[in-house]
């Protein structure tokens, strides 16, 4: 079975989220791996001095990567509904580009359980993690 994600499908799922554009989010697909990129922009700051990204923005990036990964993996066109998310903040978000990837722990018929990580300069030194449950919505016939 080919697990590779289809960049067009990912692009379509993110294009349906105007708020992702508001945050300036872009994406990269390599095989089955989807990475979201949130380039640094001043409006993302939650604290101007010393500068730090708003925690809510980091949580939003993590939720969007989880939704995009669930959408791309499940093959359902309609975005899943978020049931709950828990975000742990590990370190302050510096005023640089931020990346995020998600991993689906379980994809059931109705519920997807996912984990996600956000990092900046070092992939293995995340600034925040998320775990959450998402309700899948069947495509309308």
């Amino acid at each position: 079975m080919d697990d590779a994600l289809k960049p067009d499908a990912v692009a379509a799922s993110i294009a349906r989220i105007p708020y992702a554009r508001f945050l300036g989010i872009d994406f990269e697909v390599k095989g089955d791996e989807l990475t979201l990129v949130m380039p640094y922009s001043e409006h993302l700051l939650g604290r101007p001095n010393p500068p730090a990204l708003h925690g809510g923005v980091i949580g939003a990036l993590l939720e969007i990567v989880a939704i995009a990964q669930v959408t791309a993996t499940s093959g359902v066109k309609r975005a899943p509904k978020t049931i709950d998310v828990t975000v742990s903040y590990l370190r302050s978000g510096r005023p640089v580009d931020t990346y995020a990837r998600a991993h689906i722990s379980r994809l059931g018929r109705r519920i997807a359980n996912a984990r996600a990580e956000a990092w900046q300069s070092n992939r293995f030194d995340p600034i925040a993690t998320l775990h959450g449950n998402f309700l899948l919505r069947a495509d309308e016939p």
């Binding site: 294009a15 349906r16 989220i17 105007p18 708020y19 992702a20 554009r21 508001f22 945050l23 001043e42 409006h43 993302l44 700051l45 939650g46 604290r47 101007p48 001095n49 010393p50 730090a52 990204l53 708003h54 925690g55 809510g56 923005v57 949580g59 939003a60 990036l61 939720e63 969007i64 309609r78 975005a79 509904k81 978020t82 049931i83 709950d84 998310v85 828990t86 975000v87 742990s88 903040y89 302050s92 978000g93």
Partner: protein
Amino acid sequence: MTDYGASTPFAQAVQIDDPELRAAFAKGPFISIPQTEALGIKFLKLEHGKAWTKVAWREDLVGDSDTGVIAGGVLTTTLDHTCGGAVQAALGKFLPMVTLDLRIDYMRPAEPRREIFCMAHCYKVTRSICFVRGWAYHDSEDDPIATASGAFILLGEEHKGYDVEAAGPHASGIA
């Protein structure tokens, strides 16, 4: 633009009936937070340990263009910010702090084109951690769109150099 921007004293824009709290928040220098200003989050009211805010529906904040429902991330930021405000209102002063974790439960979709209100209650303050719950709703917190539960950590001695005056009262729930 938010009412607590540089030009408007926070205490005049926000309802604070408690005289001590009003005095504490009137003293602060008020600067704008780029992200909350970009989202248009406004503080409405403060009581001891409690804060109320609102955020308006906007087309560019939608999370699903098929339905027009505002993105979950907007609620995350607004609830985080409201929770931070509740912590400040519980402490009665500006202390630097950051969000340790935040859980959001979504009960129902927000209605498109309606503004969303948030209320947060900081119900326990320890030496270093503050525990907060929050509600997002249209008409009443008894019919929530989403609820939040979070822990905030007060920054200690190692952050003595942190410029609280420059960072302002809402350098909270942030980072």
